[in-house]
């Protein structure tokens, strides 16, 4: 039963990721990307990593994809098609993809994954929350704060960029 769902999800992910890069209509590519992200969120749900799955849904499916669609909507027309890649470009990307596949597969095959007990693998919301704000061993308080400063800086930057024309 789980295996069937796994294969359905994986088939969905593979097909939609191939379509994402081959589609010549940019908004369709964004939609295929959305399906790819939904599929991988499904995989996380199957692994009982609910938090990660929900983060995948909010940040990628609900955030990034909406941003992409917004920007595409404002810049392109329904009938616009990207021009097909030339033979040279396709050849080089094919080589790059093949090399990447070889590296990934060999890395996965050579690494012997240690079995992890479910106690070590505790990914409940409570544990994540406590760990994120703990400043003791294995705590993430410092990275958490640093990331929040980075986020604040980028928000201020975005506002300044958006405002620049007004001051002129």
């Amino acid at each position: 039963m789980e295996l069937i769902i796994f294969y359905i999800l994986v088939a969905g992910i593979l097909i939609s990721s191939v379509l994402t890069v081959t589609s010549r209509r940019i908004l369709r590519a964004a939609v295929y990307l959305l399906f790819m992200l939904l599929g991988s969120a499904g995989l996380f749900f199957m692994l009982n990593f609910y938090f990660l799955a929900a983060v995948q849904l909010t940040v990628y499916a609900g955030g990034i994809i909406v941003l992409i669609i917004f920007s595409v909507m404002l810049t392109s027309q329904v009938n616009e098609k990207l021009e097909a890649a030339g033979i040279k470009k396709s050849l080089f990307s094919l080589i790059a993809v093949a090399a990447g596949t070889v590296v990934c597969i060999s890395a996965i095959l050579n690494y012997n994954f240690p079995a992890v007990s479910s106690a070590e693998n505790d990914s409940s919301m409570r544990t994540i929350g406590l760990q994120l704000l703990s400043y003791k061993e294995n705590g993430y308080a410092l990275p958490f704060e640093v990331i929040s400063i980075l986020l604040l800086a980028s928000m201020v930057g975005a506002i300044i960029i958006a405002k620049r024309d007004v001051s002129k």
Binding site: M1, R25, L27, R28, V31, L34, L38, Y50, F51, A54, V55, L57, T58, A61, G62, G63, I65, V66, I69, F70, V72, M73, L74, V78, N79, S124, M125, R126
Partner: protein, 362 residues
């Protein structure tokens, strides 16, 4: 089978045992899933039909009309007749539109409500998905819905649709923040995102009463922001008839139009259900502290009735907004969110943390 209207845990378990007794374990799981899916499909359809009818009746009474009266007793069969008409109508597609995305968008808007409604706790044990991230799951999944609206507006190749989609996209993305922040305010008190635990934590009183002033502020922000997030009036400028014909679903007809309509009403129900669960105790009857005789008297009313009663009250409240307040302009709408609701809800979380730390809540 031991069926009890007060606790569905045993009933669901006995159905599961009955299924595993007849079929092999794998097949029993599949059949169980199929039964749950069919139940939700039926529920969502009935919900859509009845909510449209109720909305029309409420609107009519607010405007001193009678509303639909001809089909069935007091017009109760009106929406059934409408849906039959919509099914048989020709689904038109505009000439220069992206047909694939145009058709897909109607289904994408339905994905989110279907995924969310499984996480709603209807009664004790009547709960399809109970993750430990429950509330986060609901907010995460419902953020997908906006994609369908944006796609619908863009692929129609119609300027009104595009403007409607842009408006509703901007609106949903901004008001999502306030909805989530107001829910987090209550999570500060519950200490858990799991919906069954949130309900259980209200067994000695609902959070709206126990949570002091910040809970009431959070509820007001929640009801305003979620009304806006679901594109309902007075925030329905995404489909303002007088300026944009029908907004993002202008070009849709027949059954695809019905999908948009259904998604809108299911989202409407979900808002009321989440609000009822977080602020009004979900299926938990009205309990006051440890006053035994009062609590026992309230327990006589089944949890399902408590849940749907609270939901109906919230639904009526939101309909009341729609038919009372005039529509906002887009700049007023965005000002309301970014200059008022968002700062207030952030300060409110701080206030709530203070209340929780000092134990000022009940």
């Amino acid at each position: 089978m031991n069926f009890s209207i007060y606790d569905f845990t045993e009933f669901i378990r006995s159905i599961h045992f009955w299924l595993t007794g007849i079929f092999s374990p794998g097949l029993a799981d599949v059949i169980g899933l199929a039964i749950i899916g069919v139940c939700f499909l039926l529920f969502v359809t009935l919900l859509g039909l009845s909510l449209v009818y109720v909305e029309r009746k409420v609107a009519a009474f607010f405007q001193q009309r009678l509303g639909p009266m001809r089909v069935g007793f007091w017009g109760t069969a009106q929406t059934v007749a409408d849906i039959i008409k919509l099914i048989f109508k020709e689904p038109l597609v505009t000439k220069n539109s992206d047909k694939f995305l145009f058709n897909l968008a109607a289904f994408i808007v339905l994905i989110a409500p279907f995924m969310v409604i499984g996480a709603v706790p209807f009664a004790k044990g009547l709960h399809a998905l109970d993750f430990d991230i429950g509330l986060f799951y609901i907010t995460a999944v419902s953020s997908i819905g906006v994609t369908g609206i944006l796609l619908a507006g863009w692929s129609s190749n119609n300027k009104y649709s595009l403007i409607g989609a842009m408006r509703s996209g901007a609106q949903i993305v901004s008001y999502e923040l306030s909805v989530v922040l107001s829910l987090i305010t209550i999570v500060v008190l519950t200490g858990s995102l799991q919906l069954s635990e949130i309900v259980a934590s209200q067994s000695d009183g609902w959070w709206i009463f126990k949570g002091n002033i910040p809970a009431i502020i959070a509820f007001i922000i929640f009801i305003v922001a979620s009304t806006a997030e679901s594109n309902r009036g007075p925030f329905d400028l995404a489909e303002a008839e007088s300026e944009l014909t029908a907004g993002f679903h202008t070009e849709y007809s027949g059954i695809r139009f019905a999908f948009f309509f259904l998604a809108e009403y299911v989202n409407f129900f979900i808002i009321a259900a989440v609000g009822a669960t977080v602020f009004f105790g979900g299926w938990m009857p009205l309990h006051i502290g440890n006053i035994e005789f009062f609590n026992n008297a309230m327990d006589v009313i089944p949890p399902v009735i408590w849940f749907f009663g609270k939901v109906v009250v919230l639904l009526f409240l939101i309909m009341w907004f729609k038919w009372t307040f005039p529509r906002l302009r887009i700049d007023q709408l965005l000002t309301l969110e970014w200059k008022y609701l968002l700062p207030i809800s952030i300060v409110n979380i701080l206030l709530m943390s203070l209340v929780a730390l000092n134990g000022w809540h009940l």
